[in-house]
């Protein structure tokens, strides 16, 4: 049987396609790459910092995410050191040393070292990115 170059190339490619088309055993889905732990009642935090650095004298810098689910109220959010926070999504009532403020997405605020810090979720889900400066 006479094969042209074109036919041979086509057959070779078709064979490659056939070889690569292989059924495999069904599998379980993959787990998410970012996981969350219970930081305190009512609030979850990244299980591992998203970023960490010891380059600041006397402090360890950590970036973590805080998540409050529907109807959650965290009366005491334990952040060691001081922290700069950004509300990434949702609406929250933020209370620092007894002073309550309503915060909406895009807001930034500061939590002094040793402050009593509470968050009440006023939205479906509230997510906060926290940059924490923790004394070493």
């Amino acid at each position: 049987m006479l094969f042209t170059t074109r036919t041979t190339l086509g057959l070779a490619l078709a064979t490659l396609g056939a070889i690569r088309a292989q059924a495999q055993e069904p599998q379980r889905p993959q787990a998410p790459t970012v996981e969350y732990r219970q930081l305190a009642p009512g609030v979850l935090a990244s299980a591992k910092p998203l970023f960490t650095s010891d380059s600041l004298p006397g402090y360890t810098l950590e970036v973590i995410d805080l998540v409050l689910g529907p109807n959650q109220n965290a009366e005491r959010v334990p952040l060691e050191g001081f922290a700069l926070l950004e509300l990434r999504a949702g609406v929250a009532q933020v209370t620092i040393n007894g002073t309550a403020t309503r915060r909406e997405a895009g807001a930034h605020w500061f939590v002094p070292r040793g402050a009593q810090f509470a968050i009440r979720n006023l939205a479906e889900v509230t997510m906060i990115r926290a940059t924490v400066f923790r004394p070493r």
Binding site: G17, D65, L68, G69
Partner: protein
């Protein structure tokens, strides 16, 4: 929609629309199945039987090299277009500028343009939308007395690649008509990824640009199905006075023939040179256009000009007939998926106010229009498939604002008519990486087919048709133990019934027809699989 009607009424609807009838047959005649872009094959077949999918395997594959045509190396990137199936034939368009017709047994029938002439390519190249035929064709049951394949492509004989619509005889590949130039190459316009939709004896197609360099004003044209001429009385939609609002997706059609479109980024300082918001600015919007006049009925613009970080609305909208009415659904590049009621079929007052009032929900939940946050050029660009009240979509999840790229690897099932709390039906995370990782889903009677950048086609069973394998929290990364105490919901984990390794990355839509699933890959192969 039509699938719930009697055969007599369905035939009448076919005659009225001019489109090839998908409902009631096992064909897959246009991009994402039908004019509503449901990507949902209602006809029963072994592909809808969970018990038999463990044997899903390749029946045949085909590569353009079999007929002497170039793939990677000449113009590159393999297939950007998805296959369609009609009356025993598979039609697929290639970035090398050819439209191919195969039998459903994998035998080559014809190509357009025929050899030895050049393919339909442009001399402007910047990404896979540019060189040849990047979008999926559509079949009309009858044009000039014969079934016709309609597609958008550059015309190398017109200024080295002006964009037109083309109609060729589905049986022979002979040219029936070419439309006027719709996308002027020297103005940096292109049809690109935009797949034509056929409805009510017309064809809608949108225009975007080559790589935003520079951006142009997006347009939507309506073309007569029988002649390729512009539809008289339909004013071409133009998204902005000079630049912005390119239509990178594809139009969908409502049951009465109105166009639903999604538009791309606007003219801003860093892209287009606009230091103030253009007026009008129809960028970053989902829009309904009235079929007779092209008048805007409503516009939904969730990301305002001030926050335009290039989150093109690049995903094709899907018109879903759900138990809570007809919805228009699409994810946006920033990872949010929005659902709107279709609303009235004629303009009534302010289109912007009407668009906002028609919003049913956003996922994840959000106040619209946004007033803050990052809305950038992330890659949620695949349209949704729908089945009953379920929506299957690659979208950002509840964690999108803190982990915006995590959703590239996830497929969500959403409940169209539930509360925000119960929006997530299920979700799955897939292996691999990519930008994005996932292709676009298709579904047949609760079995979802989707390809990935790991060269793999998956078959997934909605828990309504096959038992789930467990539960997981609807907020990804939260353990089952912490889920409910933190106010979230446990959702079923659907079973993955099959995964089949194919020849290359799959960024297209699997076509489900006649008991087979047809898939195109970046490696330039068409694969046909069956259980």
């Amino acid at each position: 929609m039509i699938g719930t009607l009697s055969p007599r009424i369905a035939i009448a609807v076919l005659v009225l629309t001019g489109a090839a009838c998908a409902h009631g047959s096992s064909d897959w005649p246009m991009h994402r199945y039908d004019a509503a872009r449901t990507a949902s094959q209602p006809t029963n077949s072994p592909l809808a039987n969970p018990a038999g999918l463990g044997t899903l395997h390749q029946v045949w594959s085909w590569h353009p090299a079999a007929v002497g045509d170039a793939d990677v190396g000449a113009t590159g990137w393999g297939f950007s277009a998805s296959p369609i199936v009609y009356d025993g034939k598979v039609f697929v368009a290639h970035l090398n500028g050819r439209l191919y017709a195969l039998t459903t047994a994998g035998a080559f029938l014809w190509k357009y343009p025929p050899a030895p002439g050049p393919g339909l390519v442009s001399t402007t190249m910047c990404n896979p939308s540019s060189p040849g035929i990047a979008s999926t064709p559509a079949v009309a049951a009858k044009v000039a007395g014969v079934p016709a394949v309609i597609f958008g492509a550059p015309d190398p004989t017109s200024d080295n690649g002006d964009g037109r619509l083309w109609a060729v005889n589905a049986n022979t590949g002979a040219l029936i008509w070419k439309s006027p130039v719709l996308a002027a190459r020297t103005a940096n316009e292109q049809i690109g990824y935009d797949s034509p939709v056929i409805t009510k004896h017309r064809v809608y197609v949108g225009v975007s640009n080559h790589c935003d360099n520079p951006i142009i004003a997006g347009k939507l044209y309506a073309v007569e199905l029988n002649t390729g001429a512009l539809v008289a009385g339909f004013t071409t939609f133009v998204a902005a006075p000079s630049r912005g609002g390119g239509i990178w997706s594809s139009p969908a059609a409502t049951p009465d023939g109105d166009a639903i479109i999604t538009t791309g980024n606007g003219c801003v300082a860093y892209n287009g040179g606009c230091t103030t918001e253009p007026s009008p600015n129809h960028a970053l919007s989902m829009i309904r256009l009235q079929r007779n006049t092209g008048a805007m009925i409503w516009k939904f613009q969730p990301v305002p000009w001030s926050l335009d970080g290039d989150p093109d609305w690049a995903a094709i909208p899907t018109v879903q007939q759900s138990s809570c009415g007809h919805l228009a659904v699409a994810p946006m590049k920033d990872g949010y998926t929005h659902a709107l009621k279709l609303g009235p079929s004629a303009p009534t007052g302010d289109p912007v106010a009407l668009g906002l009032s028609l919003r049913q929900w956003s996922f994840p939940p959000a106040s619209i229009p946004f007033t803050s946050g990052t809305h950038g050029d992330t890659r949620y660009i695949r349209g949704a498939a729908v089945w009953k009240d379920a929506i299957y979509v690659v979208t950002g999840g509840r964690d999108v604002t803190i982990n915006v790229t995590a959703g590239y690897r996830r497929l969500y099932g959403l409940n169209a008519c539930a509360s925000d709390f119960e929006r997530v039906r299920w979700w799955l995370q897939f292996p691999g990486s990519g930008y994005p990782t996932m292709g676009a889903p298709s579904v047949t009677r609760g079995i979802v087919y989707i390809g990935t950048s790991t060269d793999t086609l998956y078959a997934i069973a909605d828990p309504d048709v096959f038992p789930p394998i467990g539960t997981q929290c609807d907020f990804p990364g939260v353990s089952n133990a912490a889920c409910v105490p933190n106010g979230f919901r446990l959702t079923p984990i659907p079973a993955i019934l099959a995964r089949v390794k194919l020849s290359g990355s799959i960024r297209t839509t699997p076509a489900i027809a006649g008991g087979r699933v047809y898939v195109t890959t970046d490696a330039g192969f068409v694969h046909a699989l069956s259980p």
